[in-house]
Symmetry: D3
Subunit: 233 residues, 6 copies
Amino acid sequence: MRTVAIRNIERAAAETVAALQEQGVATVHEAQGRSGLMKPYMRPIYPGACIAGSAVTVLAQPGDNWMLHVAMELVRPGDILVVAVTTDNTDGMFGDLLAHSAMAHGVNGLVIDAGVRDVRDLTAMGFPVWSRAISAQGTVKATLGCVNVPVVCAGAGVRPGDVIVADDDGVVVVPRRSAARVAEQGAARIANEAAKRERFSAGELGLDMYGMREPLREAGLEYLDSIEDFEAD
Amino acid sequence: MRTVAIRNIERAAAETVAALQEQGVATVHEAQGRSGLMKPYMRPIYPGACIAGSAVTVLAQPGDNWMLHVAMELVRPGDILVVAVTTDNTDGMFGDLLAHSAMAHGVNGLVIDAGVRDVRDLTAMGFPVWSRAISAQGTVKATLGCVNVPVVCAGAGVRPGDVIVADDDGVVVVPRRSAARVAEQGAARIANEAAKRERFSAGELGLDMYGMREPLREAGLEYLDSIEDFEAD
Amino acid sequence: MRTVAIRNIERAAAETVAALQEQGVATVHEAQGRSGLMKPYMRPIYPGACIAGSAVTVLAQPGDNWMLHVAMELVRPGDILVVAVTTDNTDGMFGDLLAHSAMAHGVNGLVIDAGVRDVRDLTAMGFPVWSRAISAQGTVKATLGCVNVPVVCAGAGVRPGDVIVADDDGVVVVPRRSAARVAEQGAARIANEAAKRERFSAGELGLDMYGMREPLREAGLEYLDSIEDFEAD
Amino acid sequence: MRTVAIRNIERAAAETVAALQEQGVATVHEAQGRSGLMKPYMRPIYPGACIAGSAVTVLAQPGDNWMLHVAMELVRPGDILVVAVTTDNTDGMFGDLLAHSAMAHGVNGLVIDAGVRDVRDLTAMGFPVWSRAISAQGTVKATLGCVNVPVVCAGAGVRPGDVIVADDDGVVVVPRRSAARVAEQGAARIANEAAKRERFSAGELGLDMYGMREPLREAGLEYLDSIEDFEAD
Amino acid sequence: MRTVAIRNIERAAAETVAALQEQGVATVHEAQGRSGLMKPYMRPIYPGACIAGSAVTVLAQPGDNWMLHVAMELVRPGDILVVAVTTDNTDGMFGDLLAHSAMAHGVNGLVIDAGVRDVRDLTAMGFPVWSRAISAQGTVKATLGCVNVPVVCAGAGVRPGDVIVADDDGVVVVPRRSAARVAEQGAARIANEAAKRERFSAGELGLDMYGMREPLREAGLEYLDSIEDFEAD
Amino acid sequence: MRTVAIRNIERAAAETVAALQEQGVATVHEAQGRSGLMKPYMRPIYPGACIAGSAVTVLAQPGDNWMLHVAMELVRPGDILVVAVTTDNTDGMFGDLLAHSAMAHGVNGLVIDAGVRDVRDLTAMGFPVWSRAISAQGTVKATLGCVNVPVVCAGAGVRPGDVIVADDDGVVVVPRRSAARVAEQGAARIANEAAKRERFSAGELGLDMYGMREPLREAGLEYLDSIEDFEAD
């Protein structure tokens, strides 16, 4: 692994990022065809946060947060730090000092496939984090990694500059080049869902709304009157 | 697997369900002899909810929520949807649209051995869910399963019409036919615990309250004065 | 395993315990050289609690809480119950009755490498618990274990009388004999961090604050202008 | 939980059991419509064993193998012991002494949702075991459970007398009453697969053998010439 | 997600693939700078196999092996099938029929982030598989995925045509474009290790061979004569 | 954490170690009262090895095997390397080069709560390893740890010089000071088990051999004739 830090990355347009943030993870994930979702072990340290931003990626050695300091010089306001580790690790690579640094540089939040600590302070500061674990385990600064190279974070591929959207449902990655198109599709989806929501609330069944009765019959679904009919068989 | 949907199920009496809900999971679980508890990975999406109701069971293919739509036509007010999957899966099979549908039909809540999404919306709507995971991962509607057949959900056997009780301590299944008897035993237990709680609060030891000193002695418990006595050995 | 209960243990000084509580888990863990942290699966049942106290240790058989009653006679106000189990187990060994007993005897909280139940009640009572699981599964009182012997709890060695500190970041064990020294080092650390926090908030980079630029260069970190430079290679 | 031992159970016909054993787990599982498979964490202690037999079920407390002794009196030659535990547990509830007892009574093997020990001896004796874990952790004999009641073992419901088939692919449960029909369907399946195997070996594609080309086209599969066509998009 | 199958992929040179196979996973992983390793839950179904080949990638829905049939038309002799699933899944997507098909088309082996079945047959046939699980759970053919698009498999990014090396130590991915260079570095490494191996076997210490004594001293390692010196502190 | 290497440790007598090795893990674990067993995720890289020896302990940073080189200077023939890591980690900290070094210095085997690599070579060399994982992931040599301090390895406390016994059933730790007594108790146990084994093989039931019928009756076990009697209730 060449140990490099890449200074300049391309970012999606601010209005695209804002649109994706507004749509939230579940809609964005559907809008881009159900891809790009990180594994569900990535959980927010407090409920209610919903952020979007451009990924500044970090690849770290387990138990070593040195590269986070390198990354901090390369962020721009509105970015999100995305930290991958070379193997599964839960150490608390990020705490309140780094959060103060990140906030001072306008970072929107942290997505880390490892641990985070000082979560009470981070919650009080309103600095949102999605992580694999909460752990006070401190880390060393001894081994190089990379900043702004493509990484796999919690099962999802992330290239620097990709748009990250994170909320209570998890974290989704939108490739930078398709971000504008996904934002459009997400907007269409939201418009469409409002009408469906109303019909569902009025008691209409999905069976009817989506025209499922015939496909179910064709697929072979049998209706029986009672469990006795089933177990008699 | 025959792919069937069973239209009619027997349910426990409403007052039995209400009594079990009032008693809560820990008491009901004890009252029926410490059986029927789902595995502890089933967690509520928000704290404080406590529900009970008759199980309408769903058996689904991983990543496929088609049968949830079939089930929605078969629920009655007060029911609880119980979703089992043919293999371990965390996909978000249920979200805010289905929650609107479920609430419109009077469903009390969802117990799902898979994922759920739109949890912020569900929390705002007050629709309680106990799940294995929170995940935005969307699902297809392509493969049949079953509605209202016996299933294993999170390690517990559930027959349609069994009473489900769920709160912050987890989820317990009470077989329909023994529900009334369990509710009685639970009521007795609660009466009994109030007295114990008072004595514990007054400082009485379990050793004395339960008459444990003699059994402990017989079982061979040694009291030593200090760790030195132990480690010298 | 000899099944013993040790009546008397030595405890750290009250002011040392108080100082460690004030510092919190992350600071104490660093102050003692990054050792003694329990595994991060130990989570509080409600956020915001921060406790410290002397460990009264319990070693239990899976699914059996008999020894907790033995321990309750041996605690002193300010102690923390630390429960280890002979194998991995999630049963709910502790609930609201034992919590009333514990509070009546001045116990500060519970750290248990197993399950806990009645969490809504415990939260309402303000009795803090760090556990591996939340589970209503009831337990028997049939097999002896030990009280106040050295145990391994959630990956950390604990001797009776060691100081336990627990907060939202997890649980750390401070050996009794080094507790005063650790408290001093923690205090120094906190003083030192306040200054750093201010500098980070003012935008100073860790790269400069910690003098990392030269070590990074020596370690071989390459700066590239763009991802194209990296991928061209 | 009533703690009972049921003396007499109905068993499937010997020729049905023999047929299912011959077919093996994967075929039987398909033949009964892809149901009844235990979770894949159930692994054999040595490769190559393939057994079938009638389930004598045991429900045990974690860390307690008392009920295994009760079960041993109730087995008949050709049976398989199926052990479920009230909560997840890996203790070594069964070792070489019990294996000698089991072999003396004609038991075909053990399926245990917990641990097993003395695996080198068991391998040498040719006593096959499928378990969740291998562990030397010894167990007590202190708390009652049940023999020959319905249990959930490794995610699958098992009633006493159901047919268990176990091989290198895992463990499947066939309800006693449908065992003969499943054995017939399995036989048909095997006949059918031999022809397919030959065609596959001759290079015929599944696309053609199963007539998938048209359904794939209708479902919307696009063929592209190269990755450039995909990524240009 | 566009559901596409890409017909043509570029592959590394046969001699490069052969060289990487000869070097094995551990050497190749080091030679490319400790990157590209799949997570260690990927285990071979039988010991001793060591393969290398060009990746034909498959992205599948959980519990659905339809795309494996599509892929089988697009493989060339010497390729390795690499199967990723949209969420964590252990279903047995591949068994002896598909193995006969794969062998007929010259496929070297299968790397699948899901389950595999008929492992006894596959072992007898000598068709090597690295998988997350062994499971008889059958799958449907209902939902499209992709063939020959970039995927994340067991934590590693794989592009179609990348070289896969798999042996008893796991599975490593070598990007196609750097494969020749990695093979050279691997060869150098092997030459270098032979000398070291001899010196180690002669009793020379790593401390001396790698000149570690001075760096250890500088890093602050203290040598003490006995544990008493340590614990007295 | 002071980073120290302790040169001299006390070891148990060679005949005690030999006796414990002969008895094996399950017997030794029982003989010392069912304590000291490592968690069952510790598995041998090949079956059939059975070793015992004095522990030379290593505490390492995740992903860093520097201290293994320090330890290699401090071993004596017959020792076993016991490696603990400050947090859960699966990196391959040990491979064929270190195995050559270990064998040259007479080390009996390795017990490592992390990963190991080159397992085919190690198997061919007959160097036994019990580990948490098999992984080719290489490690750095950048951060100090300790040699010959007390550690927690896979859930068990180990002091340098304690006797380690490892076989197909797992790994057990015997405190050095009680090793001779445990070896005696193990010998008694083995003598005792031979007689039991014979009686079990002759068909005698544990119910009779251990006199369990009366205790079971007193504990309340009910015998029922058939499942109908149970389910009628």
